[in-house]
Amino acid sequence: MALKIVKGSIDRMFDKNLQDLVRGIRNHKEDEAKYISTCIDEIKQELKQDNIAVKANAVCKLTYLQMLGYDVSWAAFNIVEVMSSSKFTYKRIGYLAASQCFHESTDVIMLTTNQIRKDLSSPNQYDTGVALTGLSCFVTPDLARDLANDIMTLMSHTKPYIRKKAVLIMYKVFLKYPESLRPAFPRLKEKLEDPDPGVQSAAVNVICELARRNPKNYLSLAPLFFKLMTSSTNNWVLIKIIKLFGALTPLEPRLGKKLIEPLTNLIHSTSAMSLLYECVNTVIAVLISLSSGMPNHSASIQLCVQKLRILIEDSDQNLKYLGLLAMSKILKTHPKSVQSHKDLILQCLDDKDESIRLRALDLLYGMVSKKNLMEIVKKLMLHVDKAEGTTYRDELLTKIIDICSQSNYQYITNFEWYISILVELTRLEGTRHGHLIASQMLDVAIRVKAIRVFAVAQMATLLDNAHMLTGNTQRNGICEVLYAAAWICGEFSEHLENPMETLEAMLRPKVATLPGHIQAVYVQNAAKLFATVLKSQEGNTDSTTAQEASQLMIDRLPLFVQSANLEVQERASCILQLVKYIQKLQQKDVEVSEEVCALFAGELNPVAPKAQKKVPIPDGLDLDAWINEPPSESESEDEQPKAIFSKEEPKHSRPRHTEVDEKELARRREARKQEQANNPFYIKASPSSQKVYQETPGVEHIPVVQIDLSVPLKVPGLPMSDQYVKLEEERRQKERAEKKKKDKKKRKEKRSGRGKKHDSGPESEEDITPAHMVDIVTEEMPENALPSDDDERDPADPHKALDIDLDKPLADSEKLPVRSHRAAEVLKSPAEDEEGENVSSLEPKKKSSKEKREKKKDKDKDRKKSKEEKKKKKHKHEEKEEADLLCGQADEPAFQSEETNEVVTPPTSTSADVSDLDFWLSNAPVPSNTQEAATVAAAEAAPAPGAISVTTPDSEPEEPKDTEMEETKSSKHKKKKQKREKEDKEKKKKKKHHHHHHHHGDKGGEESVQNGTVEEEEPLPPMSNYCLLAENSYIKVMMEDADEAYDIQGNLQDGSQVVVSVIFENKCDSFLKSMEFNVLDSLNSKLQRPEGSGPHDSLTIPFQLPPGVSNEARFVFTVQSIIMPQKLKGTLTFIVKNEESSTHEKLDFKLHFTCTSYLITTPCYSDAFAKLLESGDLKSSSIRLEGVNMPFHHLLARICFHHHFSVVERIDSCASMYSRSIQGHHVCLLVKISSQTVSVDAKCDEPTLLGNVLDEIKQTFSQC
């Protein structure tokens, strides 16, 4: 035995180890493959030995060879052997090899289950660690199912090293075994608050990964993440959380509202670029999600853009790249803020880094406007010249076309310019994008009627100079444009100045070297041109030109008849025979032109790309059934979809019946037009579209600016688009001048004639009218077109299976499988599962009551409401809970008789978690502009139930005193029952302290200003900016005035708009409807009413209120002067309706606009602040507040919150603060505190405003 061991170790001494193998490979550079194959043979020998050390060494070498691309799956079993060694050294080698080459179809994996389980429960933490690491790479559905429970146990391991690995691997387990998600989730959630930062980070990682794919299931975790965000200092964790919020905000705009402030703070405070960048990104996401709701975040957008500019200007290319990337996100929703940085972006086009240039190009796409399109494209054309022969040039080319053609050529004011650009682009040799240019030429020529004359002339020039494009046909994609040129010249040949010349150009022998499909188009369109020549010679006594044309055709066409391309051959021979026949007729002096023209009569309309696909199958149509009577051909033709490159195909069939019966065709066409006119679903083209050939379309009365085209036409291939830029500039100037000459009538005409495509143009560009009355033909779509199919998720996406509602309580059947023969586990795990459940539900009892409630929720809402009310009055929640439970059970049979008795609740129900979220979200953004405020502790959990109802001092006069009563009511406000009850106890304590004007349960600064970090500081009392306007026994009206004010710059000369949110809450048991809101306007402030209504008309509130429900409405006021506070009297009328009767009720209220409400929280840098103070434009004033008994940071937080200031700088007990009014007044404060005396020195450019603001601040603190 001893001998054997010795022998083994001696063997080992002679074996190659990994280093030897590597060295060997390096020494055999010329016959590496051969050397390696001998090594593999050696390894195979080594693997046959019993000695585990030898085997491990062999496996180690195999891992290396695997990296070099050698398949080592044949050794899978040996790898498993090494994995199961009892020595850590070998085990690690085995697991590494397995993680590199095992995958789902490796069959020996099923042998490893027990080994892995053993390792997971090993007393040595590194055995466990190595097993977890390996497993993370090769976990299969079977392994995941069998080991899920063991791994879940490890999530609570005593060693953080194991915990973090176990947490992380759960993600892989979820992917492979989705059923494990729900049972494991409570514990995972618990790990978010693990004392070890590594474990916490892992948990955040996993949940972020899960939530990224199915965000809506994780919304209820938002408060928890919010807390982490405000307390964590780990940038990795912060980045992950902030990214997660970026994914959640689109689902819940209220969340975004809440996030803006803390994110802004982070942006200001962090020094880590990575964190700053992610914050900016998420703020952008928030702004995008809010963009529809409230336009009031110009400060945040400004901040983002400003920070991004700093990134872009940085010398670090990485920051530059990311800055541009984020900028393009802002661009989508706030193009104006980005457009002002055009200079910077154009500068990036010159960057040496291609990635950066491409990003800058992306940005340009969104930055063009009618004003700057020409200028930008001119710049790009310069770059095109510079970028000779690179792929970047192709990219530029596509971008130019993208930019110009976006949203239906929205930004093009001069199509002659665009055609010139396209023609210039044809000079690019070796581009792959000939197709693209060609299709643009076709598209523009077809859809912009007014440009056809010009386009045809340009195309004729192109055809004439075709040799310049075809220099090197093989690898030259640019000759594709000849396809477009030929087709345009043929189709619109009536516009050609000299059709005979063009005809000649199209029939040159050189054409035969072009690709077949282009030749085919040449031949076909030569025939069209021929028809036009004949027509133009009609009535001409001298018929030589016509005969020359026929002769030319007959001379040249035989070349094409011999073509190897079938299409060319067929067309050419048909046309040749036709022309020969025509020639005969010509010699007999027979008039033929009309018949020949009829061959090509008819208008082509563009058809939407998906038109065919979207035609719905009509009811009763069986596509497989035999159709006895085919529909008449001509009728179906017009509806056929036409791809851009196959436009002339439908025409082949047309000549037949036109020749047969010209009259019949005309009749049919007339009938069809009639039918289309009567069909409401038929999208009509312009009125002239059907009759181009009968009469020239209304081109004459279109004001086409005279441009001397002789230059571009006679010098082909020279840059010419440039002159349009100049011309356009002149034209615009002229137009502006004309406009001043009050040419109003004309303008009206133009505007109405401009059509659909201009509707979306930005307002500032209204005055740039296009040079031509372009008439863009709308694409045709079939009637009843189906909505476009949304991208469906890849059914193979493993994340689809993880779309699981996590808020539902666990069912018994959902326990993770536990191996029954392992007695210890059986005893342990159910208990643990339960423990997990408990974590999620806080109290199991509550959970069950919740479940039941969900079932009957909808039907039972009202009853519950009243129950709730009673309960609150008694203030005995524990008992109530039970009572409720009993009631619930008693009620149940009535509702459940039909339902099965499953424990699982319907997935749509809103569980407590969700309504908690509602509650949390309903709180307005926290005023914490300062770092201090952000970290200052607030109340531990959610706010007191009675809090919302209490009013701010502003509205004291109207406020009823019955707070007790209000408490009951307000609790209904956000349909929050569960949570409130749970928390009532803690809150009661707090209520005693905060039961004054400023609490503000619903505003709940609490959650968001979560403490956690600064426990020793006294919690900041909750604050509210909702004030009660009025209430009676039916309804309560509350107003939020704080951050709703916003300015609409430039819209009104010196007026501003203020948005007021008013919450209406139904307090009675009846239905409230027909609510009307009216305010007596003052000279200064006016309620904005819809157009057409008189100055005293009331506004109808667009909702009704069922009992107990509250809803929010917004009203816009126009305010002239903002330097004085305003009071407006108003009335609310509504109808109270119950089963028996309905009565008309009325409620008077007063709206109070404080000067503060016109201030906007605006961040300000200390240097800018200093400059402002130095400027000397500001008047100063000051106040002193005596007996202020609160910490300085509370004081600041209060000023920030109630008066919309932000802290610029704080030094000990002295702070400078800044705010800006909606009309741009700067307000600066210097706040000092010394032994209960606060002095506020203030400066502002408007003394009256300043005085009023200071008064209001004084008032706020006099009530403390």
Binding site: L18, F88, W236, D353
Partner: protein
């Protein structure tokens, strides 16, 4: 998620490849070649991000790389990772290697690819970032190496007993 971590030298020779999604060996080699091709033709002072190759990833994936002396460190990641964060992670990785190998150079990676794997395993697990604190990583790696040494000593004693 991180989809793959690749280290190769200026000539495209792989020094470490770690794929967190299974590909067969041929495709892995193609990916390495393609990535090398994309990364190597970039100048020194251009940005470190690349919109991914054809074989790996797709539109959601990015290549984030750093070039140190003779070696390229390339991470292929999806959009859930922060670009700058990953750059920092590469830095941490390299610094850790530097500590563990004492002035790391390409030869260390060539001859001790297994050790590099073990270090990486303490930083990234199954495509997710496990630990970013360098001291923590080094502590764990050292403890494991110590264990390995003691086992080897024991084995030697046994065999010569």
């Amino acid at each position: 998620m991180i989809k793959a971590i690749l280290i190769f030298n200026n000539h495209g020779k792989p020094r470490l490849s770690k794929f967190y999604e299974h590909f067969n060996e041929d495709i892995e080699q193609q990916i390495i070649r393609e990535t090398f091709h994309l990364v190597s033709k970039r100048d020194e002072n251009v940005c470190n991000f690349l919109e991914g190759g054809m074989l790996i990833g797709g539109s959601d994936y990015k290549l984030i790389y750093r070039h140190y002396a003779t070696l390229y460190f390339v991470f292929c990641v999806d959009s859930s990772e922060s670009e700058l964060g990953i750059l920092d992670l590469i830095q941490v990785f390299v610094e850790t290697l530097d500590k563990c190998f004492e002035n790391v150079c390409e030869l260390d990676l060539i001859f001790h690819v297994d050790k590099v794997h073990h270090i990486l395993a303490e930083m990234v697990m199954g495509g997710m970032v496990l630990e970013t604190n360098m001291n923590e990583i080094i502590t764990q790696v050292d403890l494991q190496n110590k264990m390995e040494k003691s086992e080897l000593l024991l084995a030697d004693k046994c065999s010569f007993a």
